[in-house]
């Protein structure tokens, strides 16, 4: 379906796809060309929607990599940040996105390849420690199982936010993954770029305490066995209609 453009905001809001798109954006979903109808609607209605969402204290961000997302800049719309585990997995997926090896299969990778990427960059011990941070002693087998479960949990969360698609044991990498590479994309120093992104509200810096708290939240049962169906929404939102996209630190409650 092609749209001929929107004369005014009312036309956008009356579009059949707008309600679902609006809800998805407000839940943190990143929209790219794969979301054909939504992407087209955003492209056609961008000039109307930017001021519209600004009234809610949000910026409708468009990246030249080809994706949109909503970034809250005030407390009118609830805002969260990704957990340390999600960030590790997101950056590993971004690395895979940049790897020509993924090109051969049209941007599809497996969970095994993702974990192998994490191991290649972090090392096995660091990876296991990252996902079992509170444990001083751990059984290797159980810790590995926990790490795999936490990675899978992070992938599900990132999929709900539109960073990847999950299909038949494969992950399809999407352009929004390049958001994880934003601090190192430009020619400026990463610290400087990071400061700029913090000022824009794109990222938050993680203190040691926050990292420990986030990791503690990610910690599963006391015996280290991962939950069969890990609860994604760790932010206290228990509504059954939730899409499972929570799981992080809610900044404004």
């Amino acid at each position: 379906m092609t749209r001929s453009g929107f004369a005014q905001l009312q036309d956008v809001i009356l579009d059949a796809d707008f309600p679902e798109l609006d809800v998805a954006l407000r839940r943190g979903r990143h929209i790219d060309r794969e979301d054909h109808a939504w992407y087209e609607l955003l492209t056609q209605a961008q000039e109307h929607l930017e001021p519209f969402y600004r009234r809610y204290g949000c910026e409708l961000i468009f990246k030249t990599d080809g994706y949109y997302y909503l970034l809250p800049t005030s407390d009118k719309v609830s805002r969260r940040q990704l957990s340390p585990g999600d960030m590790l997995v997101g950056q590993a997926l971004a690395l895979l996105y940049l790897d020509p090896a993924a090109i051969e299969r049209g941007g599809r990778v497996t969970m095994e390849e993702l974990i192998a990427q994490l191991v290649a960059v972090l090392g096995s011990d660091a990876l296991i420690r990252a996902f079992n941070p509170k444990r001083k002693r751990y059984d290797e087998r159980v810790a590995q199982k926990t790490a795999r479960a936490r990675v899978a949990e992070a992938v599900r969360h990132l999929a709900a936010l539109g960073f990847v698609d999950m299909a038949e044991e494969q992950l399809r990498l999407r352009p929004a993954l390049l958001r994880f590479a934003e601090p190192v994309r430009g020619l400026t120093e990463p610290a400087e770029a990071l400061a700029k992104l913090v000022a824009q509200g794109e990222v938050t810096l993680e203190t040691e305490e926050e990292a420990a708290e986030g990791a503690e939240e990610a910690e599963g049962a006391e015996d280290g066995e991962p939950d069969p169906e890990p609860e994604l929404d760790r932010g206290g939102d228990d509504d059954e209609d939730d899409d499972g996209s929570g799981g992080d630190d809610d900044e404004d409650g």
């Binding site: 407000r26 997302y69 590993a92 996105y97 940049l98 090109i103 390049l178 990222v203 509504d239």
Partner: protein, 439 residues
Amino acid sequence: MAVVAERRLAIELGTVDVCFLVALYVRAEGANLTSFTEAQLEDVFAQASAVAQPGVDQVRRRATLAIQRLRDQRMLARVDGQGVVRTGEFALSRLATGIVEFFLEEDVLTRESLVLLTGSLRAAIASVLDAARAASGPDAWQGGVTGPLRVTVSELIAGIERRQRGLDLQQESFQAEIRKLLEADWFGAIERCQALLESTSATLRELNEVLLHDSSLLLALLHDIEELAVAAGEAEAEAAAHRLIDQVDRIAAWGSARQRAWSEYFQYVHRYLRDVVRLDPTRALTQRLREQLAGGGQRFALAYASTPPLRILRATPVVRERPPVVRPHAPRDREPAPDAGEDPQVALDAKVLRSLDGGARALSAVTTEVTAELPGPERFVEAGRVAGTVARLARATAERERPWVAVGEELEIEDWKLARAAGGAGGAGGIGGVGGGAA
């Protein structure tokens, strides 16, 4: 499958074996040979061995073993039938030819080969249609329609399908080549990658156009043949036409499916080249991102909108409070209370006396009369009480052998003869008076 498993069929070919088969195939094609002598086989093996395993010794012995391996696996067949009389002649089997053709990848679908094949197919089916129109008997249908459909037309369609699989493999190798090009020469590979993408896209587009156009013509012809077969009651011809219709449908579906899949891949790679390769010509981003992930620098977290879904309050039904299930509390021991009811023994005495007064002179007669209105089970109990009462109010005499007399339909009792008791019982003065004299 059961037959394959039972016969333990297996194929084991090493690189040198495959090279040997390819060399034989090429030699046969080049020299127009239909079979090889043993000397020729050894000669060809020596050439293949020089390529696949240069520097090895005992080539002749290895040739003997390789020939035996291929014969055991039905790749080579002796065709002269002379046995021990003279040295044999050998030919490649269909299995060996198929394997070699697969590895040589000769059958890749191109626009030229597809146009040629579909043209031949159309002509073949048209002639079959003419034969079907003219067919007047089962033999004509078998020879002019069913046979050609099963062999000629089916082979042509299989040829298209085989080439389709060849093109699939070629696409896979293109995808791998694009990856290798980028890995080898990141920014410099853009032009070659785009050229590969464009050429494959153009090929697929052309093939799909030909398939869309020609498949509809082929299907129309096959449907005509099928209708004629149905009208003539030729089930075999109908089945053959139907099977070919399915095959043509599959060929057409392949074209659109491959074009769709390639289009998706094409767009992905184009975006990759534009957004990743062109914007990062030195491939520094990967390295910097790797360092970031490895823990270099300040840790950060991406922010995102997270509006919770609207809470819709459910209408809750009013729950009726149900009392807990308990046993009734009643005192086990009841206080005695005066009962103004009739003494059952007094009533029974009265009934027995009335019966005796009425002339009953046997226990059975009294029991029958007194218990007449009672149900069966109570009657048995009451009969005992009647006997006791009778014994008290009358004088019973019994013979040594007392007879069993039926009382109603369900009860028998030992009968007594009764006489009036002397003086009677207390409270039954009338009877007592009557019986006194008898005693």
